[in-house]
Symmetry: C2
Subunit: 333 residues, 2 copies
């Protein structure tokens, strides 16, 4: 059956059924005018992100469940970057009339499945038939039970720059999809694009052990590092020889002539964490994240003074300015 035949009220009811999970904190879930939850301790963390067909995804690139998971994961990644734990989500969907009802069910199940795995309860939802593309937007509330969120503004000259996981994988995966290459040898690259994982545990560990600044790498290392530098009034030096590159990225670069350095510096959507730490705590934080979250953590450079701008230093010693180092509208300048 198609969404257009089902009607909006019935579509909303299907969303309600998928998201109707019992959660101890939820006194009334979806189905009244609004949901009611018990008070919970700690500072609250808020974020919202949308995925739009034709802009952020194509239906033939992501299964409906992958789209659902990704729409939650990109929001979870923002909470991870504060060192927060997720609590509640609200889901907005606008679906073309020719979307199958099964598609919507699977999309919602993708959200609910990742939600269940990460402690998220969906407490609100609305939907309408879209005269245009498919639109999925999520809003998320999380908490920091004790202590403070890690902001972008705390980096100090001399601090070390750590990144989790591998860089450039998602951008390479997207390139392979866009160029219709054989994906078989590159499962990790297209998985990085289709099924990004929010680094919630790494973020919490970094916060607990005293990271000075943090953000997630959604727009590419150069761009996201520039946000940290802007907010912290600092510069940075990245050693490109240290950038963590997956073996599949090296293989793809070789086979298709891709610029690995550019993908690692400017490729978006890896949803890894960029963690700034004092030199004294660098090894402890890096080691504890590896141990707790079981993911690679790599030191790729250091924070410098603002006057130094943001530089990438190549193994041969040559330097390139990366990132604009200022905000187009001056709000961060």
């Amino acid at each position: 059956m198609l969404v257009g035949e089902l009607g909006e009220e019935a579509l909303l009811e299907r969303m309600r059924l998928v998201f109707a999970t019992a959660s101890p904190g939820v006194l009334a879930g979806i189905g009244d005018d609004a949901a009611v939850t018990v008070p919970s301790p700690g500072k609250k963390i808020w974020t919202t992100d949308l995925l739009l067909e034709g802009v952020h995804f194509r239906k033939d690139w992501l299964s409906p469940a992958q789209l659902g998971r990704k729409s939650l994961a990109v929001n979870l990644s923002d909470l991870a970057a504060m060192g927060a734990s997720p609590l509640y989500a609200m889901v907005l969907m606008a679906c073309p009339a020719d979307t199958s009802v099964e598609y919507i069910d699977e999309l919602c199940q993708g959200i609910a499945g990742l939600g269940s795995a990460t402690g998220v309860t969906v407490v609100g939802g609305d939907t309408a038939r879209s005269p245009g593309p498919l639109f999925v937007g999520l809003s998320l509330c999380g908490a920091i039970p004790e202590g403070e969120a890690v902001l972008r503004s705390g980096a100090r000259p001399g601090d070390r720059i750590l990144v989790t996981g591998y860089l450039g994988s998602a951008a390479a995966g997207l390139w392979l999809l866009e160029n219709e290459k054989n994906l078989e040898p590159f499962t990790e690259l297209y998985r990085a694009f289709k099924e990004p994982e929010a680094r919630l545990l790494a973020g919490k560990t970094a916060r607990r052990l005293g990271a000075t600044a943090m953000t997630d790498i959604s727009d590419g290392l150069a761009s996201d590092l520039s946000h940290i530098c802007n907010k912290s009034s600092a510069g940075a030096r990245i050693e490109t020889g240290k950038l963590p590159l997956h073996d599949e990225l090296k293989l793809a670069a070789q086979e298709f002539g891709l610029d690995m350095e550019d993908l690692a510096l400017r490729g978006g959507e890896d949803y890894e964490l960029l963690i700034i730490v004092s030199p004294e705590r660098c090894n402890a934080i890096s080691g504890e994240i590896k141990r707790q979250a079981g993911i690679p953590v790599t030191e790729v450079g250091e924070i410098t003074t603002q006057a130094s701008n943001i530089l990438a230093v190549r193994p041969d010693g040559s330097e390139v300015a990366i990132g604009h180092g200022f905000d187009h509208f001056g709000a961060d300048g």
Copy 2:
């Protein structure tokens, strides 16, 4: 300048600037990975609603500021129906590339203006260029500092049915717009459609004084009353002669042959409150809302047993079954 020329990052920055209001509860607002707020007392209330161009509005019917206000008002109305006070909002927007930047600024200012008047701080936002229609979605968190939310499920046979304001006005206003009638004699009707007011104070007063059930009238009295009856396993009797009709509705009905009763029973988008109260408290609640909120409150019928279904009784004594009285998917049945 058009949104398509500005780029997404710059568009997001404009949203940030409009919503960058200082609020004592907000430790970090829009501009980091996520916003941070202080803990606040009481149960939390969650709702989300979207407005889609071509489905919920047309750009030539609502000014951008009106669209912004309405997108917040329809969410506030859900909180009002729980007796809650709003706290934080998150805004998602997808804009066609040919939208002017001024349009988006005014839309955001509409949200921010009503937010400021009702105690809402916008703590999150995301935007993208839409290949289709304009999409505005809001998610809202509110609180009930003490006591319990008023759910749809508490109505008991014998309880009285109250409604705030006038019914059918917004539907008549929409009809006038759709049929391109002279709007001049009908300012209150099209205002009801373009600038609905969430009945926050009335909702809080009703909750404080012990209303047994409550919902907002967004789909029309018959439909919203059936939600109450479903959740409460009850029936209802509405006296159509008592339905509060604005003088302009009577005038429009006379001039254009509109069915006033049908508009009042089934017209949507009035965003008035449907308040169920025990007979003992009826006068006190009704009187206190009139005094506090300065709006009409009208007793229009009573809750009956489930077997009685939902009936509209005309002044001549004839009865009509209204509302389906059961949910299409059985979830409420």
